[in-house]
Assembly symmetry: C2
Homo-oligomer: 464 residues x 2
Amino acid sequence: MMKGTTAKVLAYKQVYQRIHSAISQGTLKPGERIPSARALAKEMGVARGTVEEGYALLKAEGYLVSKGQAGTHVSEKLIDPSKLRKTNVDTRQAEFAADIKTAEVLPFQLGLPALDAFPRQTWSRMTARCARNIHTDDLAYPSAHGLPQLRVAIAQYLQLSRGVQCEPAQVFITSGYVCSIKWIANVLFNAQSKIGIEDPGYPLTRQVLKNSHFNIISIPVDEDGIKLPTNTQADAIIVTPAHQSPTCVSLSLQRRQALLDWAETKNSWIVEDDYDGEYRHVGLPLPALKSIDTQDRVIYSGTFSKILSPSLRVAYIVVPKSKVSAFEKCAEIYAGNVSGLTQASVLAFMREGHLLRHIQRMRKLYRERRELAVRVFNQVLGGKVSIKPQPGGMHMILKLTDPNIDDLVFSNKMMNAGLFSQGLSQWSSKPVHPSLILSFTNIRTEEECHRLVCRLRDALFEGQ
Amino acid sequence: MMKGTTAKVLAYKQVYQRIHSAISQGTLKPGERIPSARALAKEMGVARGTVEEGYALLKAEGYLVSKGQAGTHVSEKLIDPSKLRKTNVDTRQAEFAADIKTAEVLPFQLGLPALDAFPRQTWSRMTARCARNIHTDDLAYPSAHGLPQLRVAIAQYLQLSRGVQCEPAQVFITSGYVCSIKWIANVLFNAQSKIGIEDPGYPLTRQVLKNSHFNIISIPVDEDGIKLPTNTQADAIIVTPAHQSPTCVSLSLQRRQALLDWAETKNSWIVEDDYDGEYRHVGLPLPALKSIDTQDRVIYSGTFSKILSPSLRVAYIVVPKSKVSAFEKCAEIYAGNVSGLTQASVLAFMREGHLLRHIQRMRKLYRERRELAVRVFNQVLGGKVSIKPQPGGMHMILKLTDPNIDDLVFSNKMMNAGLFSQGLSQWSSKPVHPSLILSFTNIRTEEECHRLVCRLRDALFEGQ
């Protein structure tokens, strides 16, 4: 064991070294206040005099300055070492951007709800109340399966809003879609599993499966959704029936039935990713595929990212009745890892009816924002692009009229101009008509929309 | 696509079915209020009259009752169907326990900080303030690497408190230890990797590695910590140097050096799990192993579960400088998934000095509670058990005097008596002297301690 005597001799040097290297590495910046000698002494478990000795040396060398009552600070005369030093950290970021709180949201960014319409006041009131009411037992590990009452509330919500009949024990809380897919893979797939995915389809699904070394089968999508050959040999198919990602077409009733029949015959699973099923712009919201799953072959995957905010990191899965205990075991090792307070806040928000009200408001808002975007795109970009009517969803597909354009080149041009977009070809394994995938959810006004579409035009069609 | 006409004809029936099955499945309970016809009509996108038609049918059949201004409720005369129906859900729980908010914390439960000493008021004030100050951009996806300023704050904290020199870009926020290990495995290990773990050692580490099919090598632990043969062939070793889990011995300086030399020679990695390094009861807190890692072979794994609360689900890793971009890529797929608000609250708590103060208070409290527990155990259980002095940590090892006792049988007896414990043999791959692992962190008073130890005595030594 490290002996106290040796350690004590070196204690003031240790103080010196810690502060010195924090400064020279830029962890402590010029002008920044450092802990009082008393606080650091307690923290390091050394005498206050020892810390003062270390500080004195640093002051003598010009690293620290005393400001009387205002405490001890890093000298402002030092040049910020991070500006001098060439970092030897192999990072993908040009410079560590500590000043940026979160990555900036770009215009047209995919996968985001209308951030300006988030019910901030209500949410902050719920959170503050839940935080005040924390019970001592709530400070221990949250249930690995999810907060029991939240599982009940989600089962009720799914029953009423998505037509899904399930018991609370089938609902598991996860920290997001990728976590949901990992759990499903963990419980239902094995190293030899063949998994069918939609083509075009959500790239992250493909990437997560690929990283786990599953055999991936691409299955084409047409105007009626995924078109599964009946003889397909797969252990599971991952589908987006409400509004196919990215084409936004709805899976027809006939195809839904065929998919369920296939799963029953082959004893395979269907994973229903209902990421934006709530947002339909025309007619009745379609019930979830899971709602007509009489053979219990469908795993339903839902999320609060699209109906509330992705910053919450709360999602859930509804697992087959026959697999509940297997998922319980999986959860007990990997745990959903959503903080107890976050789960309690979502529960309060649902219980008081705020969630249903918010979804209804957003349904109307997205219909309006989509109409606005389509209108302005047509005005500004006339014959250069076309936008098909879509029954629902949170993004749109901008079909480029010229079939010879490379949509990846175009999406890069947009990103360079500070505008988000992805090329449809990035979501497809086969050649597709060049198209851009854009979100309309955060376009707030006609003026803003016009300005953004003009920027897009200048970035893409300048000189054409 | 599903045609509007067919759907409309069936709309009132759909209303009927959703409510009916929610009641018969017990999702809606007798007496519970259901949404107003107006709200459900909006939610389902049907006419209000359609919902009223469905409700009328349910009222006629006795499922629903109107209570005028108080709305429509499930009839209280119905017998709660969950009491009638034998569930066909394959769950490991006897009955879904929606009334229990979180699993009850048992006396002596391992891995928990002192829940009664959690700074609830300060924490709830920080959280409420952060919730009020949410900026629109904060509602998008949080940075996959972690909130940048929190990474800076953790780098500063590690520098000052644990002697670890690192840059913020090396710090990644995860949702817990298992998530940390999965990321490390994802980036640094491959299917053929051999991973050394401590024996005895934390069972969850073994389980997670086993589930991922790595080759596991058990390495013995003695009074100076892990004893690694220099010719060991392993791609990585996972160690708990501060207070070995579970023996609580500290890794000696000589062994630390030998471990680092080994890693350099073999080009292998060392994962330092510093889960409770802050809590040392005697002498100076030991700096982390990472603090003397000049060759950048150590991955440091820390957590807020032990110093604050496991309900937060916030942990972090410090990765080698040469591997930052690889971890960035991993994070961009799997994401730490800690909510933006939780990260902002932890940051505020650290920035205002509450974390250091809390750790100092807990260090004193744990020393006192450990002394109390040792004293009372010795009083009540005299020659039946012995407890070795330990330099630190949050649990203790109760060595059973009788070498013929099976500690697994004893730990089961305790669990049956509502007391938590684990047998040391459950943490070992080789025979060990029978011992029980217990936590003392939540024993608040001498009276409580006495009562609990007597219950333990009655459960284990009754009639002996």
